[in-house]
């Protein structure tokens, strides 16, 4: 079992979270310090994902738990933490799943290498198909067409395209 799955550690974390929240609320009630605005909190929260709900960014998650996490963000901002520090703090607590994009390291590099390789392979296939094309001699030599001929040519092409097979 990996350490982050250890139940006692979870309880400890929850306790810490509760304590810090309690401290925060008390501080807010008594001190009335200027706190970071909701928009600042949301700016950081939008870069994080809710650690419990699936695929829900932290800034829009409606659950009570997420409201508490947003308060944690507010507290950290008030303490002068940077966005990166707050994100790292959440990653240490809940793992990389709280980040909106996996950071480019370790196994995550797959995510950065595989799609471009796949697309490049497609480009190669298309290039190979286009390269094999028949000699251009098949194309008729064009005389500069008079104005009417242009319309006639267009009508001919249109008729050809409209023809149902």
């Amino acid at each position: 079992m990996r350490p982050d799955h250890h139940p006692s550690r979870k309880i400890l974390l929850a306790l810490l979270l509760a304590l810090s929240l309690g401290a925060l609320l008390t501080a807010a009630a008594f001190a009335q310090e200027p706190t970071p605005s909701d928009d600042e909190v949301n700016r950081v929260a939008s870069q994080l994902y809710c650690p419990v709900c699936e695929s829900t960014p932290l800034d829009v998650c409606p659950t009570q738990a997420c409201a508490q996490w947003r308060e944690v963000v507010r507290q950290k901002l008030a303490q002068g933490w940077t966005d990166e520090q707050i994100k790292t703090y959440f990653v240490e607590l809940y793992g990389e799943r709280v980040l909106a994009t996996p950071p480019a390291r370790g196994l995550n590099l797959l995510m950065y290498i595989a799609p471009p390789l796949g697309i490049l392979f497609g480009v190669y296939l298309v290039w190979r198909t286009l390269r094999k094309r028949a000699p251009a001699a098949a194309a008729p030599v064009e005389a500069p067409p008079p104005a009417d001929a242009a319309t006639d040519e267009y009508v001919r092409r249109l008729e050809e395209e409209l023809r149902k097979r």
Binding site: R2, S37, D38, D39, N42, Y49, E54, S55, P57, V60, P62, A67, G95, E96, R97, V98, L99, A100, T101, P102, G106, L107, N108, L110, M111, A114, P115, G118, I119, G122, V123, V126, T129, L130, K132, R133, A134, A136, A138, A139, P140, E142, T151, Y154, V155, R157, L158, E160, E161, L162, K164, R165
Partner: protein
């Protein structure tokens, strides 16, 4: 009683499917019309059997038979009848069963067509359809049986089974837990059936493709027969995706319509390959090229349909461990692997027979541009597939780290999230490329297009369309991606309108038809072509909406006491009051009233609210939205104080142009209907002419 009837019919349908699949193979092997006829009748029989099953389940849902576990999990006594009925697809077991029912309906409809001209396909189409159906029915019977009931064994926990263990009493809870409140929305009620219809109808062209591979009849007959099926499948899938987006916008309360959630992408991936297929088949029809590629596309589409159902139904997205606990995930994976590898094997077997008759003649020809279109669609698919699969892979590969401690740092088994940023960055340029092609390709001719001919066709619409970004630039817009996007949109509109105009004008000159009549006649001559152009216009309108909300969305949040205001751009909202009350259908509603002003002018009131569903113990955020063609003001009630006069927290989004997305969606659907509208099959018409000609001669 109804549960037994429903389950019995379900089991019968399963047995009939297995029999039909076997009979089809025997019939094909022995060239026996009797066996194939029997298989066909088996296929036709599955639909009425499953209808009996569906009616039984609907009866149980409507009647509140909570002893049936599924009924208890998706309905409750406070739900109105229409919601109880639509709860048929509101949960896991019901959804899977509903999938099978629709599949049986579509496959039976295919059986009713005239088969004289392609009888050799018939047994194999039956085989593919029935094997797919039998797989889903098997899941319904063994793993996700919607008719399972709850039993009491004297003491202890309730026991779930179809039939009672010895000495057990049936246990009927007084009430069910009710449908997930998020799903009680018109968009969500129609969204799953549309998506499923799209999914199951893509099985039909796939079945024909496999039939063509097996029989070796590798001309494009299979494609021509299924052309309309493919369009109809695509129509439903598109409609499903659009409705899903609208539902997210209306109900989820995060100011957007598409969050690149894996569940959304699961439905988007078959749409991508399906769209590539719709374009690519035209090259095969006109030029006899890309036969192999079209096979690859339809096989991929089928695999992605099953894969999409697997992603959303196996719980694998929640956690790999949830996936491993239920038998449904491994069964799905097994089925996908077998069908995918089997199809690829057949394709390899017929690879040489599917070689192109001709070669590409010009890189500026329509077919070359269609090839680039396919490349872009496939690239978007690659990005989407990687984004969805990587988190699953990352978690699943934790097992390597567990086994080899030295690698534990790399294979951590951690869950990962791949959010919108990744998808937007990778697919954004690809979508822009698609818009550009949408403008250029209609102007290129089949076979012989040169840079010169293409340039001559393109310069006029290009010049006209450049006016749009220029005006935007003069108006103060400096965002380069937006300018590029709006230019591309204008370019496609200019080309499409120009194409309509040129053709109508030519008819007007040639036949002296009035212009509106000329347009009408033109569209009637080739509905697929002009339907396609209407679809392109719809896509452009949607692109305008997407550019507006993605690039220019602004938001703010604030806690207001009664009478205070919050400003966002030119808008201000004022918190007027908050009412909290209970409703008769089991909700606690907190409904705020805010007044909206723009530059000081009063515009009206909005009512953002939070509904708390007691039975489901779940809140639903309903935004208050003021919607115009110019922009949406989208107000969400985030939180409120117990004493409402103290204040409430609001989040306000300004979403410019987003309505064009829905408008474009309507045009898109309209275009697809024009393209798919049934007309007289030209071959049947010719046959009818041939038949009437001798009669006329005799007379």
């Amino acid at each position: 009683m109804a549960a037994n009837l429903g389950f019995g019919a379900l089991c019968l349908a399963f047995l009939v499917s297995l029999y039909g699949a076997a009979a089809a193979v025997v019939g094909a092997a022995r060239h026996s019309a009797a066996w194939v006829g029997s298989a066909r009748r088996a296929m036709l029989l599955t639909f009425p059997l499953l209808t009996v099953s569906a009616l039984s389940l609907l009866y149980l849902l409507a009647n509140g038979n909570y002893e049936v576990r599924y009924v208890a999990s998706v309905t409750s006594s406070s739900m109105p009848l229409y919601l109880r009925l639509t709860a048929l697809w509101g949960g896991q077991a019901g959804s899977l069963f509903f999938w099978s029912w629709l599949m049986a309906a579509f496959a039976s409809a295919v059986m009713l067509r005239k088969w004289d001209r392609d009888g050799e396909f018939l047994p194999w189409v039956i085989l593919v359809a029935l094997v797919t159906l039998a797989f889903f029915l098997g899941l319904s019977i063994v793993v996700e049986n919607p008719f399972v009931r709850t039993w009491h064994l004297g003491s202890g926990r309730p026991f779930y089974a179809m039939f009672p263990p010895l000495g057990a009493q049936i246990f009927r809870p007084a009430n069910g837990s009710g449908l997930n409140p998020l799903l009680r929305h018109p968009g969500m009620i129609i969204h799953p059936p549309m998506l499923y219809l799209g999914f199951v109808s893509f099985v039909i062209p796939y079945a024909y493709a496999i039939a063509a591979l097996i029989t070796g009849r590798t001309d494009d007959r299979w494609m021509r027969v299924t052309r309309r099926w493919t369009l109809v499948a695509w129509l439903f899938l598109s409609l499903g995706l659009l409705l899903g987006g609208r539902w997210a916008y209306d109900v989820l309360g995060w100011g957007g319509y598409w969050g690149w959630d894996p569940v959304e992408i699961a439905a988007f991936m078959p749409w991508l390959t399906g769209t590539a297929f719709l374009h690519s088949v035209m090259i095969q029809e006109k030029r006899g090229m890309f036969k192999q590629w079209n096979m690859v596309l339809i096989i991929l589409t089928y695999a992605l349909v099953i894969f999409g159902t697997f992603l959303t139904r196996s719980g694998v997205l929640t956690s790999v461990h949830a996936f491993a606990r239920s038998a449904i995930g491994p069964l799905f994976l097994g089925f996908i692997s077998i069908t995918f590898l089997g199809s690829l094997g057949l394709l390899v077997y017929r690879w040489n027979a599917l070689r192109s008759d001709v070669e590409m003649t010009s890189i500026f020809s329509r077919e070359a541009l269609f090839l680039l279109n396919n490349l872009l669609f496939m690239s978007i698919l690659v990005a989407c597939f990687s984004g969805v699969v990587y988190p699953i892979l990352s978690e699943g590969l934790g097992i390597v780290g567990d086994m080899i401690p030295a690698w534990a740092d790399v294979f951590t088994g951690q869950q990962k999230t791949v959010g919108p940023e990744y998808y937007e960055n990778t697919t954004g340029p690809l979508f822009a490329g698609l818009l550009l092609l949408m403008g250029v390709a209609p102007l290129a001719a089949w076979r012989h297009s040169t840079a010169k001919t293409l340039g001559r066709a393109i310069w006029k619409p290009t010049l006209v369309s450049l006016a749009v970004p220029l005006l935007a630039l003069l108006g103060g817009m400096r965002h380069w991606a937006a300018l590029l996007g709006f230019w591309l949109a204008a370019f496609v509109v200019a080309v499409t309108v120009y194409e309509f105009w040129r053709a109508a004008w030519a008819r007007h000159q040639l036949h002296g038809e009035a212009l509106p009549l000329a347009l009408w006649q033109l569209a009637g001559r080739n509905r697929r072509r002009y339907g396609g152009y209407i679809i392109h216009l719809g896509v452009v309108l949607m692109a305008i909406g997407i550019l507006g909300i993605e690039i220019f969305q602004t938001q703010t949040q604030g806690t207001l006491a009664q009478g205070e205001t919050l400003a966002l751009g030119e808008y201000t909202i004022t918190f007027e009051r908050l009412n909290v009350f209970d409703t008769t259908d089991g909700r606690n509603v907190a409904r705020a009233t805010v007044s909206v002003r723009r530059d000081g002018d009063y515009l009206g009131e909005l009512y953002p609210r939070r509904d708390y569903y007691y039975e489901a113990q779940q809140p639903v955020t309903m935004p208050g939205v003021r919607s115009t063609l110019e922009d949406d003001l989208y107000v969400v009630l985030v939180d409120w104080q117990p004493i409402s006069t103290l204040g409430a927290t609001f989040k306000v989004y300004h979403n410019p142009l987003v309505n064009w997305l829905w408008l474009g969606g309507l045009v898109f659907i309209l275009g697809t209907m024009v393209a798919a509208w049934p007309d007289h099959d030209p071959e049947l018409r010719r046959a009818a002419q041939r038949k009437s000609a001798p009669e006329a001669a005799q007379a």
